[in-house]
Structures are given as structure tokens and as C-alpha cells.
């Protein structure tokens, strides 16, 4: 059964490219439009990996990660940030919040697929 990835980003075009890349690699993709939507969808269905942007309305990426890590079902689910931010300070915050990795936009589909395969197979 195909593994499921939750892609959280307020940019529709970005979500489209993430979904295209990961579906081509055989994954199922659930899209969320911001952190709040992502949290609700994550609660409805436990996914195999969460890929989230940082700067989003209603709930940003770091807050989403902290909220997910507070859920028993998301203690061990890998969470990767996919964001335009690349500062060491933000990466440290992401890591402290519970992120397992940091990808800087724009992403290359092959590299994205490789890192996802590395994390969840």
C-alpha cells in the first residue's frame, strides 16, 4: 500500500508541484492550505510523513510541528520543512520544534523524492 504524505503550503502552485513530484514516485499526497488545515487533516488520518512550509496564515509551520508532536500518533512521524527560509537560526528552531529535516525552496523533484525515500522508504 502506497505511503501517504501530507503536504502543507499556502501556495496552490507549490502544492501542485509537490503532489506531482511525489505522486510520480508512487506516494499518495494529501494537501493542506495552511497549518490549521494541516493539523485538522493530520488528526483525521495519520500519515507517513508531513512536509510543511513555514510562513503560512492561521498557523505557521513551526506551530504546526509543535502541535503535531503533542499528539501521541505523531510522536514518530517524520516531519520535513519545505520553506524559502535557510538561516541557521530558523533551522535550529525547526529542529527544536521536532522537525526531522529542512528543505530550501525551490525543490528539485528528484532530490525531494530521494530524501522522502530515505526517510520513509
Amino acid at each position: 500500500m502506497a505511503k501517504t504524505i501530507l503536504a502543507v503550503d499556502d501556495s496552490g502552485s507549490l502544492r501542485q508541484m509537490v503532489a506531482f513530484s511525489l505522486k510520480a514516485a508512487g506516494y499518495q499526497v494529501i494537501e493542506a492550505v495552511d497549518g490549521q488545515d494541516g493539523l485538522e487533516k493530520a488528526k483525521n488520518q495519520v500519515v507517513d510523513l508531513v512536509l510543511t512550509d513555514q510562513n503560512m496564515p492561521r498557523m505557521d509551520g513551526l506551530t504546526l510541528i509543535k502541535s503535531l508532536r503533542a499528539l501521541p500518533t505523531y510522536q514518530r512521524v517524520p516531519i520535513l520543512m519545505l520553506t524559502t527560509e535557510s538561516s541557521d537560526d530558523m533551522k535550529a528552531k525547526g529542529r527544536a520544534a521536532g522537525a526531522n529535516g529542512w528543505l530550501v525552496k525551490p525543490f528539485d523533484p528528484q532530490k525531494l523524492t530521494e530524501v522522502v525515500k530515505k526517510v520513509i522508504g
Binding site: W102, P106, F107, D108, K111
Partner: protein, 182 residues
């Protein structure tokens, strides 16, 4: 009216003028930015759809080619060449997907610029408000006091604006970004 008392009137005029002209220009800037955002959104929607349709067609074509190659009637060198073309197509698709993310990055920059413009309009409105308080025949000391007050208010508003702005986008090229697993 004495020269001294003319100062109050001139300062009022200046503050009102800077505010009015500044706000007017910034509103035009924001209108243009909104239009740019709309055009970019339409462009990416169409590009995205076209890209996905093109990809579907390419996949269908590759399926047909595979069937033909499967008959065993295609010379080996052509088969090799087809495999190479297939690899090239995959490479081009990856590059296209990376490039199509331009709208996300530019949208963030435009959004930040609009936030700053709105903030700047508020700063300029502060000039107008203080200008209204200055009496046309006010004494220098009164005018000086109000100008000091407006300077402090502007500094405070500028600091608040900086804290509210969304983070900037530092990418200067559409090359794929770094990946780090913790």
C-alpha cells in the same frame, strides 16, 4: 503674519503635502502590485495545467514507444537513443518543476512589499495627523515639540512595521535549494 508665524503654516502645508502625495503614490503602487499578483496567479495556473497536460501526453507517447520497442523490430541503437531521450525528458521535467515554483517565491515578495507599502501609508498618515494639530500661527517651540513627537512616533511605527513584515525571500536564482536531514 510674521515670518515666525508663517513657519507653522508652512510646516502644516509640508506635512500635509508629504502625506497626501505619498499616500496617493503608494495606493497606485499597491494597485499595480495587486494586478501583478493576479496576473502571476493566472500565469502559474495556466502553466501548471499546460505542464501537467504535456506530461500526460509525454507519458502516453512513451507507453506507445515502449510497445513498439517491445516488438523487437527497432534497431538497438535506436532503442538506446530512445532511452537517452527518455532520460533527457525526465531531466527537463525536473527543471521545469523547479522553475514553476517561481510564483510561490515572487508572491511572497509581493506580499511583503504590499505589507510595507500599507505600513508606509500609515506612517505618512501620522504626518498628516500631527500636521493638523500644529497651529498655523504656532510658536517655534510648539512646532519643535510636535515635530519631535512625530519623529518618535514614526520611529516606533517603523519598528512595529518591521516586526509585522513577513520574512523576506533571499533566493536570487531558481536553482534548487539545500536539503538537510537532522
Amino acid at each position: 503674519m510674521s515670518k515666525r508665524k508663517m513657519l507653522g503654516s508652512k510646516v502644516k502645508q509640508l506635512l500635509a503635502g508629504v502625506s497626501d502625495h505619498g499616500v496617493a503614490h503608494l495606493l497606485e503602487v499597491e494597485t499595480d502590485l495587486i494586478q501583478t499578483t493576479i496576473l502571476l496567479a493566472e500565469a502559474i495556473e495556466k502553466l501548471g495545467t499546460n505542464f501537467l497536460d504535456l506530461h500526460t501526453s509525454v507519458l502516453s507517447q512513451e507507453e506507445q514507444i515502449s510497445l513498439i520497442v517491445g516488438t523487437g523490430q527497432v534497431p538497438a541503437e535506436n532503442v538506446e537513443r530512445l532511452h537517452q531521450i527518455q532520460a533527457d525528458i525526465a531531466l527537463h521535467i525536473n527543471k521545469a518543476v523547479t522553475s514553476l515554483q517561481f510564483q510561490d517565491l515572487t508572491n511572497q515578495l509581493i506580499s511583503r512589499t504590499m505589507q510595507r507599502s500599507a505600513g508606509l501609508r500609515e506612517l505618512l498618515c501620522t504626518l498628516d495627523v500631527v500636521g493638523n494639530v500644529i497651529s498655523a500661527d504656532g510658536e517655534n517651540e510648539e512646532i519643535e515639540g510636535l515635530l519631535t513627537e512625530v519623529t518618535e512616533k514614526l520611529e516606533q511605527q517603523s519598528i512595529e512595521l518591521k516586526s509585522l513584515l513577513r520574512k523576506t525571500v533571499n533566493q536570487e536564482h531558481l536553482n534548487s535549494g539545500d536539503i538537510e536531514l537532522f
